[in-house]
Symmetry: C2
Subunit: 109 residues, 2 copies
Amino acid sequence: MNHKLFRGSLDTIIIKLLSDNGPMYGYEITQKVKVMTSSAFKITEGALYPALHRLENKGLLDTETKNIGNRFRKYYTLTESGIKESSQMLEDMQAFIRNIQIIMNPAIN
Amino acid sequence: MNHKLFRGSLDTIIIKLLSDNGPMYGYEITQKVKVMTSSAFKITEGALYPALHRLENKGLLDTETKNIGNRFRKYYTLTESGIKESSQMLEDMQAFIRNIQIIMNPAIN
DNA sequence: CCCTATACCTAAGGTATTTATGTATATTAG
DNA sequence: CTAATATACATAAATACCTTAGGTATAGGG
């Protein structure tokens, strides 16, 4: 997979996963995406954590830290604002996919 | 349209258009994309020209300048190397679309 | 006991964008 | 005729996101 194509879609992927699965923690997101895409998408931690913090700072995500034995996990949830913005983000992504499909598979006349 | 999603796919779009339509000039590419996507994708000149020059420097595109009255146009064509690389780029894009679709529209069980 | 997996994080550097600006010719509307 | 818009190229500064590389620490399997 060409990793360049991935650029710009990470935020939407995170929002969509949280929207579908409820609270998730960072590492869980990377693994979920890996499984769903048969390892085609590998979200690096250097991209993921800054993205999560960005979305949190924008008020789209809330966090809750849970202790699991001696470890901790930071669970991320969509805020009200995050839920509202998510529908626009998903629409934008669907529109993007439709249009890129038109270019990649133009109707044969 | 959220322009962030567009990031990273410009090179592939250029290569695909040249592959489908033969030689094209920069402005023509922006207009073609605009028409195909009903104005959803607007390729800015600040993104387009550096991209064209980049692809030319990589040896994927050749240019030919033509005079049209007192004006000139720079037509871009795929080189042999560009044709070879294009199939990989198009495959990568198809794979990207498939996987992003899986995330955006997971099967309902 | 060591390697791998789990789980968080940040910093430096690279690179593709946006935004703004510049130049010039052609065409259309008033 | 002249002003605005369209055509057509281009670059530079700023921004934003990503990769790569590193750091810390616990858990579990061989």
